[in-house]
């Protein structure tokens, strides 16, 4: 409310007025929190795969391997970004029912969703999604399995770099492993609201 705005700002000014000095903004090396030793000299795609495994996510470098994994899990019905499907379809073959339109009235019909990632962060095993790259926010979230297609060249080494490259997109989401909770007696359960299985297909 408008009067609240003025009231709050004037209380803030009043509270700060007696301070003789204000705490300065510290100057620091932006890389301070980067796990340099772990990253140095590593191939970023390999490191990403390794770090994803640590947060119980999976990384593959071939579409055929992803299709096999899905089949083995019994996840044969899903959604794929229409821009990606022409390249992926040949690797999936028979036995899959894939829609390129996501119907929110049937969210539970999609066992998997395949969408494009905007990038990834090797250090933390994170996939970066944003509105420009993701064809449907829901398709990257509601199905049990999410497959993010990550281009090798878009992998950042660390979080500090990824923050610096957030860019103009109004919605950027970093996904580090499957959705999880430990609310019930501290026991880790995966797949609460989002995917129980998180996969990166590195191309």
């Amino acid at each position: 409310m408008t009067d609240d705005r003025e009231a709050i700002l004037s209380r803030v000014r009043g509270a700060l007025a007696p301070l003789r000095e204000r705490a300065p903004l510290p100057q620091y090396d932006a890389d301070m929190a980067v796990l340099r030793k772990m990253i140095a000299g590593r191939d970023l795609a390999e490191l990403l795969a390794e770090r994803m495994k640590r947060v119980s996510a999976h990384a593959y470098t071939s579409a055929a391997a992803v299709a096999e994994f899905l089949k083995a899990g019994g996840w044969t019905r899903g959604y794929c970004d229409p821009a990606l499907w022409p390249q992926l379809a040949p690797h999936f073959g028979a036995g899959f029912t894939v829609e390129t339109d996501f119907d929110r009235k049937r969210v539970d019909d999609y066992a998997f969703g395949i969408t494009r990632a905007a990038g990834a962060v090797a250090e933390s095993g994170t996939i970066v999604l944003n509105d420009a790259a993701t064809s449907r926010r829901l398709a990257a979230l509601a199905p049990w399995v999410h497959i993010a297609v990550v281009e090798r060249a878009t992998i950042f080494s660390d979080l500090t770099q990824a923050v610096a490259a957030l860019g103009p997109d109004r919605n950027v989401v970093w996904v580090t492993g499957p959705s999880k909770t430990a609310d019930v007696e501290g026991i880790l359960i995966e797949g609460v609201h989002g995917p129980g299985v998180q996969i990166a297909l590195i191309v």
Binding site: L16, M32, R137, V163, T181, V192
Partner: protein, 461 residues
């Protein structure tokens, strides 16, 4: 004998609840410490730095608040201000009414608990459903959260299974996986039906106007994928100066709170969805809430406004481990709550003035705090305030007789000589109830009164 309210609450705690709170806080704390020290050469330097960043931000809110407001507006969000809890609730209600909205899905936000938003909206005939698993269980049980990060740390799986059965979420089953699956199924349809998604904000960048939100479950992400209107409820102290400061803070938050390198979903939201994106909010409202924060800013305890709500100080605190969260009778329990809750009471400060006293001042909270808040110092300042305001303090032994004795040299010397008796008389027989209660669980060391004076006299020779 009467005790402080916090002691009374904690005395009523069931033994198995106490044991499970103790176990899970202890194990989270140990994992946190191992992770930080395994990965960083000097994690304490990082904590200090994060503290300096946040201290700068709160001491320059007069610059940053108008700046962030302008950024958000330029990004297409609407900005509102709420001085009080009532005003914040009324603002949310108005946004919903203007859209003809009746159903809200909520991600976890501490501010919404502070202003009791869900109750308020329900009283006005609107639905406000918690979607964080723990908060959802708190809501169906009409209970209160007892930990900032783990709201139902005080409940066991059998209690939860019983609640689910009562609410028609399936036959009794206390397997945590089944409980989670049932909540998943029930809640996803609620998201899709809802008109409005409400979230908090962990950080707001003054530079870009980005709202940063972290969750492990993905519930806030679902709110923002399924609904058409996003309301952000945020305390005015959540500002950070620049985007680059976020990487320091995010690196510390997940590790300190839940011993994760990074929380699963970290969202950076700077406005409504892109026009090309089919899912998500077309409208975004950000409500900046004061509700007592400017008073804290004006006080000598303003450092507490650095808090990033990680919960690490709760996990390490020997008092929290024994007392659990409800004993603090506030939205914010543990060491952070012992400082923040009395301050947020404004003129009702005396009602929570017992909390700063429930501490041995061991300093563990300061040592783990990712923004290095000197909590023990702040507790002392609040104890001082309670004394100055003459807040009654039941259970504290009367110190008048002591003061009299300690200020009379002859009386003091006599007492020192007589103190030797304490080695022979059982403490149970000392006719001071407060001392008896204290000595009930402790043994006194051998009396050494007068030694210092003896030593001093010898030195002087």
């Amino acid at each position: 004998m009467r005790f402080q309210p916090i002691d009374q609450y904690s005395a009523g705690l069931k033994a198995d609840t106490r044991a499970s709170v103790y176990q899970s806080t202890k194990s989270t704390h140990e994992k946190r410490t191992k992770l930080l020290f395994d990965q960083f050469a000097d994690p304490d330097r990082l904590r200090e730095l994060a503290g300096e960043i946040k201290q700068h931000a709160i001491e320059n809110l007069d610059t940053y608040l108008p700046q962030v407001e302008a950024r958000l507006k330029a990004n297409g969000a609407q900005v509102h201000w709420a001085g009080t809890a009532e005003s914040a609730c009324a603002t949310v209600l108005k946004i919903m009414r203007d859209r003809g909205a009746t159903k809200m899905v909520k991600a976890k936000t501490m501010v919404s608990e502070e202003i009791e938003l869900a109750h308020f909206l329900e009283q006005h005939g609107l639905e406000a459903l918690e979607t964080d698993l723990g908060e959802f269980i708190v809501q169906i049980d009409d209970d209160h959260p007892s930990h900032i990060v783990r709201p139902i740390i005080h409940k066991n799986r059998r209690e939860i299974a019983t609640s689910f059965e009562r609410e028609g979420l399936g036959a009794y089953n206390d397997d945590p996986g089944t409980i989670t699956r049932r909540a998943r199924h029930f809640l996803r349809h609620k998201y899709l039906e809802a008109d409005v998604g409400l979230t908090g904000a962990n950080f707001v960048s003054a530079e870009s106007g980005r709202i940063v939100l972290v969750t492990n479950e993905g519930n806030s992400r679902f709110c923002l994928a399924a609904t058409k209107c996003h309301i952000v409820l945020v305390g005015i102290e959540k500002i950070v100066p620049r985007d680059c400061d976020l990487s320091i803070l995010l690196n510390l938050l997940g590790r300190s709170g839940t011993a994760q390198d990074l929380t699963v979903y970290t969202e950076f939201i700077s406005g409504p969805k892109a026009p090309t994106q089919p899912d998500g909010p077309e409208e975004m409202h950000v409500i900046f809430v004061d509700n007592g924060r400017t008073e804290v800013l004006a006080s000598d305890c303003r450092e507490i406004l650095r808090c990033i709500r990680c919960g690490a100080c709760l996990n390490v605190c020997p008092v929290y481990r024994q007392a659990s969260g409800h004993a603090y009778r506030s939205v914010y329990p543990g060491p952070v709550g012992a400082v923040l809750s009395p301050l947020l009471m404004k003129d009702k400060f005396p009602q929570k003035a017992d909390l700063p006293k429930a501490s041995s001042l061991c300093g563990a909270c300061n040592e783990v705090c990712p923004v290095n808040i000197p909590i023990p110092d702040l507790l002392l300042r609040l104890r001082n305030r309670a004394k100055e305001e003459n807040v009654p303090s039941p259970g504290t032994p009367p110190m008048g007789a002591w003061a009299l004795m300690a200020s009379q040299p002859t009386a003091w010397k006599a007492a020192l000589a007589g103190g030797k008796l304490l080695d022979y008389v059982p403490t149970k027989l000392i006719p001071v109830p407060a001392l008896q209660a204290w000595a009930d669980k402790r043994a006194l060391p051998t009396w050494r009164g007068g030694e210092f004076r003896k030593w001093l006299r010898q030195r002087a020779k």
